[in-house]
């Protein structure tokens, strides 16, 4: 049994447009599957099929061997870290409360929450005494994205969904965070689904690259195979980089 498996999964909007068709791939703990593609290729839709923000209209998505539609959505989501490009920190919560969201929902006692927040802020490179009590509006874009990632990791979920988590950053900060994330990912041993349109980021982070083109898989395989791929969309990405 694979930890996460897409089994011919597709998603069609009620009006007819096909956002995703017959997508199959799998991921195990320690894997980073990078979902690569142009805008509108179906990358975010792919992630949303995992945590039931959307349900597949064809095929199945299996988490720990069970179809997502058999999971209680709330339970599934609390076991799945989720960070998005727009970050979506709660502006009326401190950094600490934002990070502690899922532990709080799960009813962790306050001392354990506080210890976890300090640990996570440390992990994403933010000094806890300096940042814990700040409001999101007092942070830079890069700091906010770090807080967003800390929030996704808070309850130690075995599965991570990261939708362009470094999207809004300048190239220097971005490559720094990318390096830190890679070190983190290999240490944490989670199954990670990482969406990007940046081929360098994909090649750097991925254990598997899934390249989407108009909602279909144009390539799926390890980064070395991606570099040698003669799929037209893969060549287009490699030549643009």
């Amino acid at each position: 049994m694979r930890f996460l498996e897409f089994d011919g999964a597709g998603y069609t909007l009620p009006g007819g447009p096909v956002l995703l068709a017959a997508v199959s791939f799998a991921a195990d703990p320690g894997d980073t599957v990078v979902v690569l593609g142009r805008s509108g290729a179906g990358k975010s839709t792919t992630l949303k099929l995992v945590n039931r923000l959307l349900d597949p209209t064809a095929g199945r998505v299996l988490v720990e061997g069970r179809s997502t539609t058999d999971w209680d959505p709330i339970r599934l989501r609390r076991r799945t870290g989720y960070a998005i490009q727009e970050i979506g920190l709660f502006p009326h919560f401190t950094v600490a409360s934002n990070v502690a969201l899922v532990p709080q929902l799960e009813g962790w006692p306050e001392p354990r929450r506080r210890a976890r927040v300090a640990e996570l802020l440390e992990l994403v490179g933010l000094d806890p005494p300096t940042f814990a009590e700040r409001m999101p509006s007092e942070l830079s874009g890069g700091q906010r994205q770090r807080v967003g990632i800390a929030r996704a990791l808070a309850a130690d979920p075995p599965l991570l969904l990261l939708d362009e988590p470094f999207g809004a950053l300048d190239p220097v900060t971005r490559s720094g965070l990318r390096r830190e994330f890679q070190a983190l990912a290999s240490r944490l041993g989670k199954a990670t689904l990482f969406v990007t349109h940046d081929v360098a980021e994909a090649l750097f982070l991925a254990t598997t690259i899934v390249l989407l083109e108009h909602g279909r898989v144009a390539f799926a395989g390890p980064p070395e195979a991606f570099r040698r791929s003669d799929a037209a969309e893969a060549r287009a990405f490699l030549e643009a980089s």
Partner: protein, 202 residues
């Protein structure tokens, strides 16, 4: 007019405004929240609320009198009319306040496993309070003014000296109703404005 009579009129006026505003919040807030979950229902509901808003207040008081249960002469009919006027700003601000919460925050909250109720109570309402209170503020201030007309259907309040002053061409009597009503409107405006500023985040 004695000070005792004056206080009684002010008291009646406060009851009219307080009861109608309370009922309007009790209806407008939950319905506004419900409309954010059923956006398709929003435009017909707002269309109806808007139509009510356009009925001139004196006409609305008159039109309500013959209705069973809601109507008749007196304070109850006046409260019904005032609720109808207060509803739209509360409904609209609740709806727009919640809809204007950063969709990314709502997405992230949902994606991290918040239930609809948790999202509403922990994220949407706290972020929308400033806008909702602004709607309540408009409703209350308008009610203080419209409630003076309620005296025309025997509901009492500060409209009473105004109407009596009008019919006897007595400016002092008109001012005895109009000045306290204006002060009351200013006081509510100031208090709710203070609350609104305290509740706005960022």
């Amino acid at each position: 007019m004695s000070a005792g009579q004056m206080l009684e009129l002010i008291g009646e006026h406060l009851v009219l405004v307080g009861a109608s505003s309370g009922i309007a919040v009790g209806i407008g807030l939950p319905v506004g929240v419900w409309l954010t979950r059923r956006p398709k229902a929003a435009s017909p509901v707002f269309a109806v609320a808007n139509v009510f808003q356009t009925i001139p207040s004196l006409a609305l008081f008159g039109l309500l009198i013959p209705l069973p249960l809601l109507g008749g002469i007196g304070a109850r009919t006046a409260v019904v009319a005032l609720v109808i006027y207060a509803l739209l700003p509360i409904l609209r601000n609740t709806y727009t306040g919640i809809r204007s919460v950063d969709p990314a925050a709502v997405d992230a909250g949902r994606g991290l496993g918040m239930t609809d109720r948790q999202l509403l109570l922990m994220v949407e309402l706290p972020l929308a309070w400033g806008v909702i209170i602004a709607g309540i503020r408009v409703a209350v201030v308008v009610s203080v003014g419209v409630a003076t007309i309620a005296a025309a259907i025997g509901a009492g309040g500060l409209g009473e000296p105004i109407f009596r002053g009008l019919s006897t061409v007595n400016n002092r009597l008109i001012l005895a109703g109009a000045v306290p009503a204006a002060l009351m409107a200013l006081a509510f405006d100031g208090l709710l404005g203070l609350l609104e500023r305290r509740l706005v985040h960022r």
